[in-house]
Symmetry: C2
Subunit: 226 residues, 2 copies
């Protein structure tokens, strides 16, 4: 039975990759850089977008907001005057704990791709399954909050290994926590040696300029001429 | 395609419930009270067990430690001198993001049920899927850290609704956060009116006595005579 289950999972991932490539072709044609943005629940993804997106001079950004249900984060982001599209996994997708390429594909008709340079896909808050499903993205960024503890890279290695950038958030709380940053970085390098990382506080603004610069560079690196 | 997916999910949940009932019969025969312990990654489940289990006078407690991979939490708990059994979902279960009844059943031969009054099953850190799978437990307890934000009951209603007790952890950090506790409780009552809740800090010890008392009462309420 376990072997059957593993085979079913592998077939599902093959199908996902095929659809992810089709998404990728559509994004490339439109000249849109796509970021798959992932974290555990409550690590601060939405706040980091609220802080970063308004400061991206000359870049037309949009957000695809993934949630099991509801539109709380999309409502928060609506105030930024960037296009926000809601994608709920309990709406025909069985309440899945992650986004996959097919779900993102179902949202493409709602996305104003021709008017965007950057699309951030905010995934469902989860450190396990989102890492397994490519959606056609150019880069994967994850947020790890220092309140979650130093052991997270070792406990969720697939997620930390899948990422092109790790944002270490809520560092304003470091002085109030028993969190050993060196130990976290040591664990991070054990599972993904040398992965780019930034120390951030959405609350104090520390590190936000570097995060914006990373997004600008990602767009200039990957976007095709319109 | 979506309708097929929903039907597959429903069949899987039916099969899960059948196995959960078999687990439950085994736990009842052994007179063991079983707690399904759930939270997002890094909310503090393991620390709350480290603090609570040694103080349970006269109760023989054990832990079934669920992780995708590794045994970090089991290693931490080993120092408590309670039986700890590791259950990894990437070991024949496809790296699943939750425990289900079948995984727990596979671990039963390793568990010293005859020597236990209380078994705490620490689920994989995840606010979505663990809530969907009964494992044969007597009660479900979840931990929500105040660092995760006030909106979590609204974003993950199934988890908050599935629980018999909500532990609101890390309240020592409240003064350093923009977290409105009243608003969190309002959201909690919106999705699960009147669910028992406790304010805790594993760091300062606040609320730990009430948490231990709840565990003692759960054992006296549900355990059959040996």
């Amino acid at each position: 039975m376990h072997r059957t289950r593993v085979r079913v999972v592998e077939d599902a991932l093959d199908a996902n990759n095929t659809i992810a490539r089709a998404n990728r072709d559509d994004f490339d044609r439109a000249g849109v850089t796509v970021i798959n943005f992932m974290s555990a629940p409550g690590a601060g993804k939405t706040t980091l977008l609220e802080r970063a997106l308004p400061g991206l001079q000359g870049i037309r950004a949009g957000v695809l907001e993934g949630d099991v249900q509801g539109s709380l984060d999309a409502d928060r982001l609506a105030g930024l005057h960037v296009p926000v599209t809601q994608l709920n996994t309990d709406n025909g997708f069985g309440g899945e704990c992650h986004l996959d390429a097919n779900m993102v594909r179902s949202a493409l008709p709602e996305l104003p791709l021709a008017e965007l340079d950057l699309l951030v896909v905010e995934n469902v808050g989860n450190l396990v399954c989102p890492a397994e499903f490519r959606i056609g993205e150019d880069a994967r960024v994850m947020v790890s909050s220092v309140t979650e503890g130093e052991d997270k890279p070792l406990k969720y290695p697939l997620m930390f290994r899948a990422c092109d950038l790790v944002l270490i958030n809520k560092i304003d709380l470091l002085e109030h926590l028993d969190f050993d940053l060196d130990r976290f970085l040591y664990h991070l390098d054990a599972v993904h040696p040398g992965v780019p990382r930034m120390l951030l506080s959405a609350r104090t603004g520390e590190g936000m300029e570097a995060w914006r610069e990373w997004l600008v560079e990602a767009v200039s690196r990957t976007a095709a001429p319109a």
